[in-house]
């Protein structure tokens, strides 16, 4: 991995402008870049920030973190599609923190539109606005954006590298470029002469940037097919390096404990007893806690208990009742947003039936399989940090500040992430490792959090409530008025990550409700922000995770009030607004053989959510097994537009659904005196092999714009299940998790 550091120091800007008809024809003039200020590493050439050639062949630099979503594989396929590299020869590494790897798709997501209804022009505006990401060094893996961001950029990188290599071959062979072809890492001349890329790369550095034409989808060899994941062999042999697997000469092992009463101070600490324990070398004080450094992680964890410490109280409300009351109080304050306000929700025909419902979803922990942690070393070069981060540029900036270093003196390595789900966009685990390393210059230290520390010091999915009012008349939905109250995860996160306080309408707070493609003529969604300072953050699918439960549960209630089949009711409403959304509903209807009737002891529920550009519909079937509910089968359909890798998309869809179902059934984080009550998996129980339903997934591609894959599987899971529970039991679940009222297998 030594080469990564070298690229970091000679990163150049990289861009391309569409010419000759623009994007539609796939013709680009590549912009050259400020000249490379540094000498390339021995035996390597970086053709652009995404393609490097060394004496072994091609190395593709992935700008996004691999946390299980398969991004490395498909980003590599995008490059390889144009570069003509044999799949088995591909090597992929994670890029260093660098401006060149900014995420262009995230700012586009922030536009105040509904997404499904935007024109091609607005879509292009979103992409242009994405350039803002560059200004903020927004190298972030999140928001289900990696493929939207990389779809053109990575192919351009591959095509540019290919044309440069061909140009080098032209110079060497003196033949016309048009006669050359490329295959399996070689340029091939008409007479059969082959020049491997490894022999040509060093001759490309002086060449002018080429004009390139991207290959049409009809010629794709890799894209659109299920490729063997580049990380699979490592991950089934225990050789994949996660953050906790970094091993360095002389490395010490540490664990951390912070005030369990969140936001409280550390008043007093005495580490003497801990220092007398076997293997223990240091107790390092942190602003709100301490780390014990030992020669073994377990010995460090044991010694945490031996440190005498007095914790100050948490400023948070002492009880859940108070927290619920604070969220409820937000309904009475002025709304922060009214991002949908169609027709008139205040005038209801006399003959309409009006229904109302209030819903609540709890705080949730991410509970990635790999607990938080990081490895850091402070030496004369500066700070080296190995951290499983979804935002390495933010890590570099923050840890440089902590260490009083220039960001150029901070190396950030991103190993595989043992799950992310939004948790690893945070900076806390990198900061702690940096602080411990600063206390022990010259010694690499790996800080591993215990599961208990991980679960009790998360940035949780917020506690959110919604009040819905709707009207139906003659079997039709005529009005829907939704009010959503909770604290703002986006505002907290922007301050934490970038120091940016924000105001204005919070789109994330109402996503999954205001932007749902249902043509109800009178429709309003307002967001109310609660002043509750529980540390909250982005949990897979973010606002959609809560709002889809509200919105899709209420649509079910409306369908029942209208005496309509809930699936047909949705199809009819979606057809008015967004054909792909209606399409996924029709698909699950067909896949599941939906009749609207279920035998005694069987329940079925449906839900559909449009999120991250992708509509996903789910039908879940449950059965009554001696008073316990068993999840028997789930049918899912998504419409993602451009399907780059069906196997990976399928895995994200059912994986996202299982994540959502786990939360819907069993997961809840509560606080007492500001401390989290749940400590480990026995208190926070995800689905397991025996209670996960069988699956069928269908991937459609009628969507005009490419949708995301990593998150959209999650939002419809909870409402589809709750609607199935209603079908089975006649009881409407308006609060999660469902195990509060129902028993599951």
């Amino acid at each position: 991995m030594a080469s990564v550091g070298k690229i970091a120091r000679r990163t150049f800007l990289f861009g391309a402008v569409a010419i000759a008809g623009g994007v539609a024809f796939g013709v680009y003039q590549v912009r050259k870049t400020p000249p490379n200020p540094l000498k390339p590493g021995e035996g390597e050439t970086a053709l652009n920030p995404f393609v490097m050639v060394d004496d072994q062949g091609v190395v593709i630099v992935a700008p996004r973190a691999e946390m299980g979503q398969g991004t490395r594989t498909t980003l590599a396929a995008l490059v390889a599609e144009e570069l003509d590299v044999a799949w088995e020869d591909i090597r992929v590494i994670h890029g260093p923190p660098a401006k060149a790897y900014y995420n262009s798709a995230m700012f586009g997501e922030a536009l105040p539109n509904k997404g499904y209804d935007i024109s091609d022009f607005q879509h292009a505006v979103g992409e242009t606005l994405g350039q803002v990401g560059k200004l903020f060094d927004l190298q972030v893996t999140g928001g289900s954006t990696a493929m939207k961001d990389g779809f053109e950029r990575m192919r351009i990188a591959g095509a540019t590298a290919r044309e440069l290599l061909k140009a080098a071959a032209v110079n060497q062979l003196g033949v016309d470029a048009a006669t050359l072809r490329t295959e399996a890492g070689m340029v091939i001349a008409p007479d059969g002469t082959t020049l491997p890329y490894t022999a040509l790369a060093s001759a490309t550095t002086e060449l002018s940037p080429p004009t390139i034409v991207l290959r049409p989808a009809t010629e794709w060899k890799y894209l659109g097919k299920s490729m063997p994941r580049v990380d699979m062999v490592e991950k089934v042999t225990g050789t994949a390096e996660f953050c906790v697997d970094v091993r360095l000469p002389g490395m010490k092992f540490a664990s951390v404990r912070r005030n369990p009463h969140l936001g409280g101070e550390m008043r007093r600490i005495n580490g003497d007893a801990a220092l007398n324990m076997p293997g223990v070398e240091r107790v390092v004080e942190l602003p709100d806690g301490f780390a014990v450094v030992a020669n073994n992680t377990w010995l460090a964890i044991q010694a945490l208990d031996a440190v005498e410490v007095e914790w100050g109280p948490s400023p948070l409300p002492a009880t859940m009742d108070e927290m619920h009351a604070m969220v409820e109080a937000a309904f009475d304050a002025e709304p922060n947003s009214a991002m949908r306000d169609d027709g008139d929700v205040t005038t209801i025909p006399d003959s309409a039936t009006v229904i109302e419902a209030e819903y609540t979803v709890p705080n949730l922990s991410h509970a990635t399989m790999e607990p938080m942690g990081a490895t850091a070393l402070v030496d004369s070069d500066g700070l080296h940090i190995w951290t499983a981060s979804q935002g390495p540029t933010f890590v570099r900036a923050r840890c440089a500040e902590l260490a009083n270093l220039d960001p150029s003196q901070v190396d950030v390595e991103t190993p595989y992430l043992g799950g992310g789900f939004g948790r690893r966009g945070e900076l806390d685990f990198s900061e702690i490792a940096t602080r411990v390393a600063l206390a022990m210059p010259g010694t690499p230290v790996q800080v591993t959090w215990s599961r208990e520390e991980d679960m009790t010091h998360d940035f949780y999915r917020p506690l959110v409530k919604a009040r819905y009012r709707g009207a139906v008349e003659d079997g039709q939905a005529v009005m829907l008025d939704a009010r959503i109250a909770g604290p703002s995860a986006a505002r907290q996160a922007l301050v934490r990550w970038m120091g940016l306080p924000s105001s204005g309408p919070d789109k994330v707070h109402v996503e999954g409700a205001f932007n749902q493609p249902y043509g109800i003529p009178n429709q309003r969604v307002t967001g109310h922000l609660a002043e509750l300072d529980v540390p909250i953050g982005f949990w897979r699918s973010v606002g959609n995770s809560a709002n889809a439960f509200f919105h899709e549960s209420f649509l079910d209630e409306m369908a029942r009030a209208a005496d309509r089949d809930p699936l047909d009711f949705r199809i009819e409403l979606a057809e008015r607004e967004h054909a792909p959304s209606a399409g996924v509903l029709k698909a699950v209807k067909e896949m599941s053989g939906w009749t609207g009737e279920t035998p005694q002891g069987v329940g079925r529920g449906v839900a559909m959510t449009y999120s991250f550009g992708t509509p996903v519909a789910q039908v879940i079937e449950i059965t009554d097994e001696d008073g316990y509910i068993r999840l028997r089968k789930a049918w899912m359909a998504c419409d993602i537009g451009v399907v780059l890798d069906p196997s990976i998309i399928e895995a994200q869809m059912f994986g996202g659904m299982i994540y959502g179902l786990s939360a819907a059934i069993n997961e809840e984080i509560t606080f007492t005196d500001g401390a989290v009550d749940q400590l480990n998996f026995p208190d926070y129980e995800p689905l397991r092999m025996h209670n996960t339903p069988a699956f069928e997934v269908k991937i459609l591609k009628t969507n005009r714009h490419m949708g995301g894959a990593g998150e959209p599987g999650t939002p419809p899971a909870a409402p589809a299940l709750a609607n199935a529970v209603f079908d089975l039991t006649g009881e409407r679940a308006r609060e999660l998790p469902l195990n509060k009222r129902f028993d599951f297998v």
């Binding site: 979503q69 991950k235 091993r247 995800p686 025996h690």
Partner: protein, 155 residues
């Protein structure tokens, strides 16, 4: 304080206090990092290894109590010489983040040794102690069935 262990066919002398769990001897002392820490309370199965062929949670077994030969994921197969079960995992493209998969595979290996033709219920019973937050369970089930068929053919 020191203890001799046979791990993946090799003898090792571990110089750690007796009560240190096997998991942390493997990871921090021997740098056999394929075996993972997930919960520390035997609730997730990420630390599953074999002792004399039996699947155990290495976070719960003190090094002083290790009663037989230890096999970890590194001893099951390697990228150059994959075990049949690992091949089945690749065929079905099981892993997502991959963090739990060493434990899943070791658990599945023990199951298939005891029961060469497991039913769905047998798979449920054997695998329910192994958590996966990415939700790879359907593919794990499929891979176990493929591996069972392949192993039975090898016999």
């Amino acid at each position: 304080m020191s203890k001799n262990l046979k791990i993946n066919g090799k003898d090792h002398t571990i110089d750690l206090p007796d009560e240190v769990p096997l998991l942390w001897a493997l990871r921090d002392e021997l740098s056999l990092t394929g075996t993972k820490f997930g919960c520390g309370v035997a609730a997730c199965g990420a630390c599953t290894v074999h002792i004399d062929g039996e699947a155990v949670r290495s976070c719960q077994i003190q090094i002083a109590d290790v009663w037989g030969d230890v096999t970890t994921i590194e001893g099951l197969g390697t990228p150059a010489a994959l075990h049949t079960i690992q091949k089945a995992w690749i065929d079905h493209q099981v892993a997502q983040c991959g963090y739990c998969q060493s434990g899943q595979i070791m658990q599945a290996a023990a199951l298939l040794r005891e029961n060469p033709t497991p039913s769905d219920t047998d798979i449920d019973d054997a695998m329910m102690g192994n958590l996966c937050r990415c939700g790879t369970y359907p593919r794990i089930r499929a891979a176990i069935k493929t591996a069972a068929a392949a192993l039975n053919e090898e016999v």
